[in-house]
Structure formats: C-alpha cells, structure tokens
C-alpha cells in the first residue's frame, strides 16, 4: 500500500501533473500542474467555478481524476488508503457535524482515529473553543462551527492540511482570527494547501500562489513576485495638458529618464509621478479578465 518515497521527507508534499477532470461534457480541470513543498502554505486562488475545489477534492480522495498524475505525501489519493488519511487534515467548505454532541466529545472521538493525536485540550485552545467545549454543537454559532472544523482537522496532528475557502462568510474580525490560526499551523511546520477567492487572504497567508481560471493555472509564484517580469511596471504622471497618464513598461528606467529629461528641457516638473509594481490584485484581475 505504501509507496517507497512516502517516507522521503524531502520529497514535495503534493505533486500534480497534467491533472484533468471531466463531468460528462464539462471539463472542470484542464491540465493543472502544481508542486507544493513541505512546510509551505500554498494558495489556489481563482474566481468561483475555476476548478479549485474540484482539484482539492481530487487531492483529498473525494473524487477520481479523469487524467494526469497526482501524489499526496507519496500516495495516490484515488486509492483512498487509510494511512494517507491519517496524515492529512481536511477543512471542507461545507462539512456538517453531529448536532447532539459537544466539541470536546467530538474531538475525543476524532482523536481516536489517529495513531498520534494532539491533546484535545490543546486543540480546543488553539481553535479558541475552550469556553464552548461542553456545549452541544447545534448551539454553536457559524464562526464557532468553523473553528470546530479546524479543530477536527487538526486533532490528528496531520502533516498536510487542506483548507477549502476557510474564511468565506466570515466577518473581518473572524477572518483575522482564522488567519492567525493558519499562521500558527504554519509555525507548527504543517504544509497547507488553501483555496480562496480573496486576494488579500492569499497575499496574507500564502508563501506561493497559483492563479486558477477555467481549470488551468494562469500564473504561479510568491504573491509579491507574481507578474514581475514582462511589462509589469506602472508609471503614472500628469502630462503637460494636465491629463493623468498611466503607462505600462518593462523598462521603467528608460521611461523615467525620457519623461524627466523632457520636463527638465521645458523647465517644468512632472506632477504626481509614481512608479508602481503591480499588486497581486492587478495580476489577478489582468489574468482572470474575460478576453
């Protein structure tokens, strides 16, 4: 059952090559390649319907792929081995839970599935559920249920965690709390694959991001470096007619030199001059814009 390189700690946590998924005529995933290194937080970013959840559910073992190669901690998730499931934690977009049981009882039950679970007390604390540990889960608020999701995924002390849209529907305070939790998971050395359609979330949390649309990866890299290279500097200024001009260039040095030389020759100033590198948002909007 266990592939030889499952024990290789330096091998990537996730490798996906030419992954495809068809539902009848519809192609949800059309050839995705990603590699997630151990210990990194990797973001799958894209609009709704981009194929993020389908991709993640193939990695989690919920769906069978139509084509391509997939390896999760050295296992083929399609085989659904229990050994792999002991080593991953899954936070589903919409996973319900038994109504008549308390978080503490649930966590105890869940901890029993794993060979080396974390202590239930510690997990309750990490998820911020100490005060609600003995309340039946049907009395928990939406945000508390989400924290219980985290706690249940965490109690088995997994190496790799999947977080599918972990903060959708959260208010700003709850989002920041969830982000803190994700950061603390990274500090524990967990590898995290996160899907989101929030740019700021990807920027805040992910070491690397893949921008996905229509089942394909459009760009991949650290959020701050995405889009660097190519004509990706923006130079904005007010021209001598008073119009605000924005130019894109891959050589800002030359453009700035020309601009300032012209202005100096006329004895004027270049008003409101700014040079900007594109934000993740710019890259995202550019890449995901419908042509």
């Amino acid at each position: 059952m266990r592939d030889d390189w499952a024990v290789n700690e330096t091998a990537p946590a996730i490798e996906v090559h030419a992954l495809t998924k068809r539902y009848g005529e519809y192609e949800a995933v059309r050839g995705i390649d990603i590699t997630v290194r151990r210990g990194e937080v990797f973001g799958l970013l894209g609009p709704n319907g981009a194929g993020k959840t389908t991709t993640v559910e193939i990695l989690e073992g919920y769906r069978q792929r139509s084509g391509g190669e997939v390896s999760v901690l050295g296992f083929d998730p399609a085989r659904r081995s229990i050994e792999l499931r002991r080593r991953i934690g899954i936070v589903l977009q919409s996973g319900g839970i038994y109504s008549h049981v308390t978080p503490r009882e649930l966590l105890r039950h869940w901890a029993g599935f794993y060979p080396h679970p974390r202590s239930v007390e510690e997990v309750l604390k990490l998820a911020g559920l100490e005060d609600r540990a003995d309340v039946r889960s049907r009395k928990l608020s939406g945000g508390q249920l989400r924290r219980l999701d985290f706690a249940l995924a965490l109690v088995g002390d997994p190496e790799l965690m999947f977080l599918d849209e972990p903060t959708t529907g959260f208010d700003p305070a709850a989002r920041h709390a969830a982000w803190e939790t994700v950061r603390s998971l990274r500090d524990l050395g967990k590898t995290i694959l996160l899907t989101t359609h929030y740019l700021d979330e990807a920027q805040e949390l992910a070491d690397r991001v893949a921008i996905v649309k229509d089942g394909r990866v459009l760009a991949i890299g650290p959020p701050r470096e995405l889009g660097v290279g190519g004509s990706h500097y923006r130079v904005a200024y007010r021209d001598r007619h008073g119009e605000l001009v924005e130019q894109q260039t891959d050589d800002p040095t030359r453009l700035l030199h020309e601009l300032t030389a012209e202005a100096l020759a006329r004895g004027e100033r270049v008003e409101e001059l700014s040079v900007g590198r594109p934000t993740l948002e710019d890259v995202y909007l550019e890449l995901t814009a419908d042509a």
Binding site: Y62, G96, S99, V101, H109, F113, P115, L152
Partner: protein, 249 residues
C-alpha cells in the same frame, strides 16, 4: 494504533449517546410502536385471539421502524448536512462506521422486541415465546433486511425535507397491507399475494410462530427465504448506490 474493532465500538457508543440525546428519534423509535401496542391492547381487551395477532404484528412493525425508517432518516440527514462527507475524509474505516451505525439499530430493535415480549407476557396473556431461537433468527434476518433497505431507500430521497413523505409513502402502505392480510381469511387474493411478496408479512408470520402459535422455524422457512431475498437485494443496492455527498442538482 486503533484497530477496526475498537473504532466500531467507539462509533457505536457515540451513536448510542446521540440517540438518547435526540428526543424525537427516541420518540419515533420507541414510544410510537409502544403506543400502538397500548392502544390496540385497550381496544382488543378480552379478545385473546386478536391480542395474539396484535403483539407479533407490532413487533414486526417495530423491526421496520427501528431500522428502515430510522436509517433512511439518519442517512439523508447526515448526507445533507455534510457529516457523511467529513467522515469519509477521516481515517475511520468504512466498515467501522457502518458497523457502529448498524449495531446501534440492532440495539434499538432488540430493546424494542424485549419490551414487546415482556408486555405480551405481562399484559396480553401470551406467555413467553415458545421458540426463542426462531424469534432471534427472524429478528436478526429482519434487521439486516430492513436496515439494508433503509440505506438503499436513502439513495432515492432527494433531500431531508421530503424524507417524511418518502418514508411514509413506503412504510404506511406496507404496514397496512401486511396487517390487513395477516391471518385474515377474507382478504382479497391479490392483496394477499402482494403482502406475501413484501418482507414485513413474512416477518410477522415468523414472529407469530415464535411468540404465539409455537410453530417452529421449519414451518416458516419460506417466510425466512422471502425476507432473506429482500435482504440480499437491499444489501446490493445499499452498497452499490451509496452516496456520501448530497448531489448539487
């Protein structure tokens, strides 16, 4: 390392705990058949012939309600709420999960049958069952059959709101036709044929033999075969069509 048997036991204990904490489940599984028994007992008081029929008929109905009805409800609810999907992603062996769920249903049926047997002895003048072995065999085969059918039937039910309609559309006619035909010489032949082909009437026949008439297992083998056949069919569709997730259509 937790083995599959330990996990089955833990799942069973969790299911028991949840069962007693959910008042409506406890009511429908336990109180309702007992109310039927009491009501029937009051109406038929002094008529030993009819009381002899009432007790095994209610026992048969209890087997169906604690397995078929309860499991159909449970599975649809857990599927719609996403609990099944979460369980599928956890390292809990499928056999341990269903083992725990099935053992929970068996416990409910066993408790229910014990209460009915006791009531038959104490209030209805029936005495202890003549054939315990026959009682146990029929209850066990009945549980397997109706539990499998309940899980199969859950595939057909589109969402939790419609569960009551779907379940009762099967449960009530089956109970009605089986009760009506049971030891009723004047029942029309076509109704009798329908009832004989369904699993509840044969189950009641077997329980009647075990609890009242004293006709042993060997007299009711054809009844057992009908239930067994439905059980095989039910198991096939329960496994084949099982869906861990609510379809989004």
């Amino acid at each position: 390392m937790p083995d599959a048997l330990t996990l089955t036991w833990r799942q069973y204990r969790l299911e028991r705990r949840m069962f007693w904490r959910n008042p409506s489940a406890a009511f429908f599984n336990f109180v309702l058949p007992l109310l039927f028994l009491c009501g029937g007992g009051v109406i038929l008081e002094g008529n030993q012939h009819d009381l002899n029929l009432l007790v095994p008929a209610i026992a048969g109905m209890s087997v169906m309600s604690t397995t078929f009805t309860a499991l159909a409800y449970n599975i649809v609810f857990l599927r719609e709420r996403g609990v099944l999907k979460r369980i599928r992603g956890a390292p809990l062996p499928t056999s341990s999960y269903f083992g725990g769920v099935a053992a929970n249903a068996v416990t409910n049926t066993a408790l229910q049958i014990a209460i009915i047997v006791l009531a038959g002895r104490v209030f209805f003048g029936i005495g202890w069952p003549a054939h315990w072995d026959e009682l146990i065999v029929f209850v066990l085969v009945g549980v397997v059959c109706f539990a499998a059918l309940g899980v199969s039937f859950a595939h057909v039910i589109p969402n939790f709101e419609s569960t009551a309609a779907y379940v009762n559309a099967v449960f009530l006619p089956v109970v009605f036709v089986s009760f009506f035909v049971f030891e009723n010489k004047s029942a029309p032949t076509f109704l009798r044929n329908i009832a004989e082909a369904l699993p509840l009437k044969p189950l009641i026949d077997g329980l009647y033999g075990a609890m009242v008439t004293g006709k042993g297992l060997s007299h009711n083998l054809d009844a057992l075969a009908v239930i067994g056949l439905w059980g095989v069919l039910g198991l096939y569709f329960a496994v084949r069509g099982f869906s861990w997730e609510q379809s989004r259509i």
